[in-house]
């Protein structure tokens, strides 16, 4: 995997061949990347792909089995405790104290992060305003709705104004509106120069990132800006097809030799093919022959999901082939 060359901007997170094994299981297998200051860097992958394990190594919560890394210029292995003063971390599971009120949770983390006394009141007010919790400052945290809890957790993680923020699936289990609000907050922090490292398994969320790493089975299989990934990483063309009875139409299109794969996508179909022109013509005639009314057929820029599915399938095919050869 190619590490993006650090441009003029300062690199604040950098790992090389990072690996984490739990017994025989390789949760993270030789991952390398670099994140620049102020970047919103996303880690996209299915559950169990190694996203959380990577983020935990970066936060000093796990020691890597192999490889090296620096966060805020500090060594992952030797300076894990110093890294903890430079970062904010939101774990996958909500981890504020339910019995404490909103204010008490904020006060606890200000104490833990040693927010200077003269700044304390201002930081608390900032968190309350940011999370929209001014009127709920004395509410028990356990009684808050998901979106509020999650914004409060973000607020508590940045009380000490850390230069780097690690968010492990921060928006899972939160309604779409809260999710959008949350991303607004992430952008605001990023504008202030905070580097945000965020994992997600939501495709549409990963489009919000400046750069994206796709992790699958512990390996980083793609890295780049979402737009670049969509245009450069997919050699094949994607055709979007709107027609009658898509499930049945899919079975027809599957049999077209020029089409590599076809999948339901929204209310229509997405077909992947090496030659868009030839495949388009073949699909048209096949559907017409079977009596399906075709409304629209055009080549589109692949979505991240198309890229993701195509990458994973190529990968699995390759792994399958290698297994065959070994046998």
């Amino acid at each position: 995997m190619r590490v993006e060359p650090a441009s003029s901007a300062e690199v604040v997170v950098e790992v090389q061949d990072l690996e984490k094994r739990f017994g025989a299981f390789r949760a993270v297998a030789g991952v390398s990347f670099a994140v620049r200051r102020g970047e919103v860097f996303g880690f996209l992958g299915p559950n169990g792909a190694g996203k959380s394990t990577t983020i935990r190594m970066l936060c000093g919560l796990l020691t890597p089995t192999a490889g090296t890394g620096r966060v805020a210029g500090l060594d992952l292995r030797r300076e894990a405790e110093r890294i903890k003063t430079q970062i904010g971390y939101m774990s996958q599971k909500f981890s504020l104290y339910d019995e404490l009120t909103v204010e008490e949770n904020i006060a606890f983390f200000s104490g833990i992060y040693r927010v200077p006394r003269e700044k304390k009141a201002a930081r608390q007010a900032w968190v309350l305003a940011m999370a929209g919790l001014e009127r709920h400052r004395r509410t028990r945290t356990g009684e808050l709705a998901g979106g509020w809890k999650q914004r409060l957790a973000l607020g508590c993680a940045v009380l000490h104004e850390p230069p780097i923020l690690f968010l492990d699936e921060p928006t899972s289990g939160v309604d779409p509106n809260s999710r959008r609000l949350f991303w607004d907050l992430i952008y605001r922090l990023s504008e202030q120069g905070v580097t945000v490292f965020v994992t997600t398994h939501y495709m549409e969320e990963s489009e919000y990132c400046d750069r994206l790493g796709i992790i699958y089975r512990g390996e980083l299989i793609a890295l780049g800006a979402p737009r670049v990934l969509k245009t450069e990483l997919m050699p094949e063309a994607v055709l979007e097809i709107d027609c009658a009875r898509p499930p049945e139409a899919m079975q027809v299109i599957e049999k077209v030799p020029e089409v590599k794969e076809v999948a339901l996508f929204g209310r229509g179909l997405h077909a992947v093919a090496a030659d868009a022109e030839a495949a388009g013509a073949a699909i048209r005639s096949a559907l017409a022959a079977q009596g399906f009314a075709l409304e629209r057929l055009e080549r589109i820029t692949p979505t991240l999901e198309d890229v993701f599915v195509s990458l994973i399938e190529n990968r699995d095919r390759l792994a399958g082939a290698q297994a065959e050869v070994r046998r």
């Binding site: 919560l61 020691t63 903890k84 104490g111 040693r114």
Partner: protein
């Protein structure tokens, strides 16, 4: 994963201090802020859970009342019956020695062994005296009449004490009869060769509550202290907040001491309540220094709270931790501290084990301060052990507190 060697932990911890906060290093206010934040958070947890707080205060009170009233090891007013076959003034006088004593309570006469057996079986009597029909005649003739004493020995300790009482009464009766006979023969009463004058120190009335109450304070404090803290770290693990804490710069020493602080306050409150109950409700004399007693209690509580935290750290589950805390404090405190069973009577290997039971030293200290009124000049080795135990267990608990997952 490859855990960091302990040396590395230390190095990185000191580096953390030295880095951006160097200028504030000598300001204690700032250094204690994390500890204080943890203590305040923990205090809020306690306040928000009034049931646990009620238990922490209520259980010691309940146990003191229960043990103080129910667990009396005194043997007095032993119920007894008599099968007097002699029916002579001599036999009646002998029985009168029992009925007149505060150690025995007369429960009537029986006629025959079957009635006697029933009285013992139904626990109507614990002692039965069988006076043979020739008792009066033999006594008058200077022959040694025998009296049978049947004792319910289902509790061997009590039985031994009852027999001791009976022997003492019989001995006194024998002496009186001998003196009487001598006077009748020689005209003067002989003086006995050895006269044992017993003076019972420290617990002059031989009242068991005077040593049970101080002992039970020690047992209760051991149990409560460990139970209180056994949940704290395990709860953080179970709720997932431990991971969040580990991602912050909070150090194990700050976390452990911060968590200890509010529970220490509860523990000391318990001691004071127990003390007030012992003095006011049970009239146990406090002959030594209250300050010393509180200081020793503080040492014991810190050690036991630390033991609870260590268990919590290792167990990571609240249920398991509380059970371990219970077993590891209550049982040794009850059985091996010398509270219920004298350590000197235990088999040698068990005696050796008692040396690592902190409750043993605390029980000794509490009893010594309460009853003997002595100070550190006599008890410093026990105090020293409590101090060492507290420091060592605290240090282990801090070392075992993880800074990492995995």
């Amino acid at each position: 994963m490859i855990p960091l060697p302990p040396g590395d932990h230390r190095r990185s911890a000191s580096a953390d201090l030295a880095a951006p906060e160097r200028c504030a290093r000598f300001s204690p206010g700032k250094n204690l802020r994390r500890l204080w934040a943890v203590a305040r958070k923990e205090a809020i947890h306690i306040r928000r859970d009034p049931r646990s707080l009620g238990l922490a205060i209520g259980i010691p009170m309940l146990m003191i009342v229960l043990f103080g009233y129910a667990l009396t090891l005194d043997v007095d007013r032993v119920p007894f019956v008599v099968w007097d076959q002699s029916h002579t003034p001599a036999s009646r006088e002998y029985v009168a020695q029992y009925t007149g004593s505060r150690y025995f309570a007369w429960r009537g006469t029986v006629a025959g062994y079957s009635e006697l057996e029933r009285a013992i079986d139904t626990r109507q009597a614990m002692l039965a005296l069988v006076i043979p029909s020739d008792f009066g005649r033999d006594l008058a003739a200077g022959r040694r009449p025998s009296v049978q004493a049947v004792v319910d020995a289902s509790d061997s300790n009590t039985a031994a004490i009852i027999l001791g009482y009976a022997q003492a009464i019989t001995l006194a009766a024998n002496r009186r009869i001998a003196v009487e006979q001598m006077r009748r023969l020689v005209g003067v009463a002989p003086t006995p060769a050895i006269d044992l004058r017993a003076r019972v120190w420290f617990n002059a009335d031989l009242e068991s509550k005077n040593y049970i109450i101080p002992g039970i304070i020690a047992v209760i404090m051991g149990l409560i202290a460990a139970l209180l803290t056994s949940l704290t770290i395990a709860r953080e693990w179970e709720r997932g907040t431990m991971e969040q804490l580990m991602s912050t710069p909070v150090r194990p020493v700050e976390l452990i001491l911060g968590k200890l602080l509010p529970y220490f306050a509860i523990g000391m409150l318990d001691v004071i309540i127990a003390l007030v109950m012992a003095l006011s409700l049970f009239d146990v004399p406090l002959r030594g220094s209250v300050v010393l007693l509180l200081a020793m209690s503080a040492l014991f509580i810190v050690g036991t709270l630390a033991q609870g935290i260590l268990i919590s750290t290792l167990a990571r589950q609240q249920l398991l931790a509380s059970q371990l805390a219970m077993v590891s404090t209550f049982l040794p405190a009850f059985l091996l501290s010398g509270f219920t069973f004298a350590i000197a009577n235990m088999p040698a290997p068990v005696q050796i084990i008692t040396h690592i039971v902190p409750a043993r030293y605390y029980v000794a200290l509490v009893k010594a301060i309460f009853l003997r009124g002595v100070g550190l000049e006599a008890m410093w080795p026990d105090a020293l052990f409590l101090l060492v135990f507290a420091v060592v267990v605290l240090a282990i608990a801090i070392r075992k507190t993880r800074r990492q997952l995995g």
